[in-house]
Point group: D2
Chain length 350, copies 4
């Protein structure tokens, strides 16, 4: 490939921004052309994230000061709510850009759902309609031709990988799904908040957003599409004293006559040719540390003692398969490149 694709990362001073760069600086087909971070404009990436010391990168700038004329592709890693206006403006300035958005702004297809869960009407309805839900394994062909891909949430994408194939196959009771999801702190970003201090987190665990976490809306949407009817799972996220990882324990009741082995066979078949989803042997519980730093999901299926129940476990690194790695996987598909390009790092364990 002679010509490198020119990429901009909007919001490079956050954790998902840094994680995008961790992969992008080693991607063979792209050139990192612009990085923005409004509050840290003017600084070098190595000042903001010293792990980039010695790597040649553009200095941080503001979005307002950015020149999109020679940009081919944009990753948008900005906060929820403000992103929709930014992307509207950016596409106005350069309609031919392709974008993967890592915020929640374009994940919900139904404007009413968006308004309900986010508390205000969507500001870019035509784009919301256009955006493709960016879980590659389930929307690959639509992503390939998309201009705007809405990268899914870390909690939701992890659970969707385990549940959607089973709902499609009619193997589980859609009304029985309980999702106990656990995550590390990095998903909360780099904002300086008292409740995110080391001393507040390091020796314990707690649930948050119980009964109302916004990723629930993504689960409802994708589960309902898969089941062909309304599905409203119970979903409770927890913060654990670790940096990275989503670990979803999913409790289901099976349709009559269905066994845990059937669930396992279905998932194994659906993901047999996927590079980034591994179905572990039946009865094996995955561990989040075995996907840390890698664009991988590990799935497990375990029979409960009661024969109509099963426990599914899905784990990812929230910053990789749950965010930035997933985003680059989508970029690869959008560009017609091998899906694993730049993404084949093995998990860092221990």
């Amino acid at each position: 490939m002679d010509k490198m694709m020119k990429v901009a990362v909007l919001g490079a001073s956050g954790y998902t921004g840094a994680e995008l760069l961790r992969f992008l600086v080693r991607h063979p087909h792209i050139s990192i052309t612009a990085l923005t971070a409004d509050r840290k404009a003017g600084q070098a990436m190595a000042e903001v994230f010293p792990q980039f010391t010695g790597i040649d990168l553009p200095r941080l700038t503001t979005i307002a000061d950015m020149d999109f004329s020679d940009i081919d592709f944009v990753f948008c890693a900005l906060p929820h709510g403000t992103t929709q206006q930014v992307i509207l403006d950016v596409l106005d300035r350069k309609p031919g850009l392709r974008i993967v958005d890592l915020s929640a702004d374009f994940r919900l297809e139904n404007p009413d759902d968006y308004a309900l869960w986010y508390g205000h009407p969507h500001q870019a309805l035509s784009l919301q309609h256009e955006a493709v839900f960016g879980l590659t394994e389930h929307y690959r062909s639509r992503i390939a031709s998309a201009r705007l891909v809405a990268n899914p949430g870390c909690h939701s994408s992890t659970s969707i990988l385990a549940i959607v194939p089973l709902l499609k196959a009619g193997l589980i009771d859609p009304d029985s799904i309980v999702i106990d999801s656990k995550t590390g702190m990095s998903g909360a970003g780099r904002a300086a908040k008292e409740e995110m201090l080391f001393s507040e987190i390091s020796t314990g665990v707690h649930a948050y957003g119980v009964g109302k976490h916004r990723h629930t809306a993504e689960l409802d949407q994708e589960f309902s599409k898969a089941a062909g009817r309304s599905v409203t799972p119970s979903f409770t996220p927890h913060i654990l004293p670790m940096n990275r990882g989503i670990y979803a324990t999913l409790y289901v009741r099976m349709a009559s006559g269905v066994s845990a082995g059937d669930l396992h066979a279905t998932l194994s078949s659906v993901y047999a040719n996927e590079a980034f989803v591994q179905v572990l042997p039946l009865g094996t519980a995955p561990q989040s540390r075995h996907v840390l730093g890698a664009n991988q999901a590990h799935l497990g299926v375990i029979a409960d003692r009661m024969k109509d129940r099963a426990i599914l476990i899905a784990t990812t690194d929230n910053l990789v398969k749950g965010a930035s790695g997933q985003a680059i996987q989508n970029m690869n598909v959008m560009c017609g490149w091998p899906e694993t390009l730049g993404l084949n790092a093995v998990a860092v364990f221990p």
Copy 2:
């Protein structure tokens, strides 16, 4: 009180043994008279646990070498399976002893249940029949007159505190209970096993014993007694990268017309006069760090978005209210002392 009660701790070199001593050395009515640890016999406690440096304690001995003649009370913190024979022997040597056993050996009332979950017939059937389940808040009067109290498991006691009052009141569907329980490493004890190394635990989370953890049997027993019918909850324990804490997230469906507020009112009423159970305001998720080191359970009740569902959260320190603190609370009751004696330490946070 002129005469101190003479106490022995069998198994003082494990974490529950050390935790018993943390409280017992400051208890005003007892004298620590003997400590055993077969593999570390001959050593001083301060060699095995340097936090006891400067505190006068008996040297570790073997059970075989121990003289029970002047012992009044025994805490038994030995491994499951071997304990039943030890206690049988000890009570044979001195029938008047009173004992709190921290192992699982005497928790199940039904010998068939024991044989099923532990894989061999019980070796001390008469004692199994005699033993009282040691969750003070629910068995206080029987504990007061017991000779042998079976301290409950850390996972099970934590969940029982939240669920049993609701089953007794008929407020929840007994067939709907899903328990996602999380714990720190200290509950696994001080055995040198590869899977318990710091490097294997520190950066991730995983489920263990899925579908078959033995604390399930205690949950079945106590839930069924409370409901007046067979109850078989789904129970999955997880290991988190922290030392202390049980954090049970409990998913229930409510009986028709019942609200989360009703669950909260019932728990608040049941535990209104308990020193060691705090029901947090409706809608508040407890945090395990706020009970670390304290003989306390914090309970939370939160409404789900679907009006027939609620999420309950119960948290304890597995070594304190989930083990050694609970054991001393039982001793206080057995001795007719104020229940909080020696147990009123506030949680260590941060």
Copy 3:
């Protein structure tokens, strides 16, 4: 004791404030009469620190709104710099109050040193002159009669315990002292700063304030007094991924003919009757976890391979013997009570 001493804690919403209360609520001779926290005034302590749920405590107020008329004793846990004016005002309102100040404002005896290290002239010079350096083991008699005690810094008090007796005895070269001090995050307080987030701290270590940390001034002062000449140790603090603990590794060259055994004998003798300082056997390295939560310092002396060098190790819990426990120890001395009153909790390990 019929009448309880009425105590106020100024700055109760920080970590040292909470830690004071952890001990004070169980102290037999005091009544907690007022708690201040300007930014959280109006809240209950259990809202700010849920570990106090179920414990009866005054609601948080502002210092301005506080009535000192019935207060007997004040703990001041406010930020450096602002404290001197607050205490000046408070003593103006009620000159008979006794105060233990946990800030750095009154630790340095020489006004020039204060101005040099803190960048501005001291605002309460007469009080600075009056204040007694609050390391009980070394200033017990002066503390007993003091009105204002300046509780020492966590890094400095830990190192002073190990070094000062050796300088006084002339056993070590005053110009050789290198102090590599390590601490947990809680010493930095509860301020919401990016560099204190869990994700910024949890998987690594770094030095901070290298060559210029303000605790250096306390070391200079106390070492110089002990040596009878100017001593300027090299001191570098580090932040570790843990909440609690100071761990100072101290490198010294010994005077001619002196051995590590001599250092050990001197420290053992000096602290033989101290309840809160334990000198471990010669050659033993202490561990910070064995003093976690306890008002204890553990000291170790180890010979280096070169016979003129030794390594000393001193460890404390920065929030206890390094701050709040030390403060209460000082209160006990100021009030003529047994020094260990309310302070005999054993370390929480594991």
Copy 4:
């Protein structure tokens, strides 16, 4: 390159073995042909380290069962002491093999030093004489033509990078060097030992091997060669509650008229063209987390308040630049490949 080099890893079930594979599976010029692990022979790597699920690797075998006939290159990640005999045998079976040994067996040039520090005579003296000390930046040309490279210790290589250029340049007093080195747990390997359990490590810090750690011998050797005289630094290692990282704080006195800026200029110049050593701006303290997972060393130079003293800080990931990454860097040099091949992963932070 048509033909892939066939590589064997002896000791693939330990952490350094797994870390070698993390890089080797993505190295463009090599084929992983054999993996040994005597106690886990017969198992798949994905069973021993599930992060390799989905990656095609040879099944684990014993060294005895291994066929070296088609092996070109060996990484030896076996325990100290037994390695020398294994390599003697392997080279006997196939003298043309090239080997990077990650144990300590061939690091010391002087047989007397080996016998002194390891307590027994070396069993392969001719190989000890032949082996090249594998710190690429300092022995590149000798490594290029070596048959057997002795990968240096994690503590020692980190400190050598900072100190050796300064000794060579005569900028520091060789008798003043104090090294306070801190490390994560992974350096201790995967052995099931009580003192390495999560609960024993997670909430504190302690020094180990004080005054006698064997990496001291490597420091003596390399420092003495650099200074042209005997140098015996003070070296104390510590275990921190983290998995990865070496963080050496190095205290030095400078030669007359030398400033911290001079030290910084020298290190900057020496490492200007090195891909894997970054000298941070003068006055900046590195953080171990910014090299986690990367084959990088970050060096910092900071002036002390006393003008004849400086503090140097050197940090690496003990499993990467301190072990397996360094080993592959050596392989690249030995094979005449670009030194960064397969090694350019950016650190995983947060």
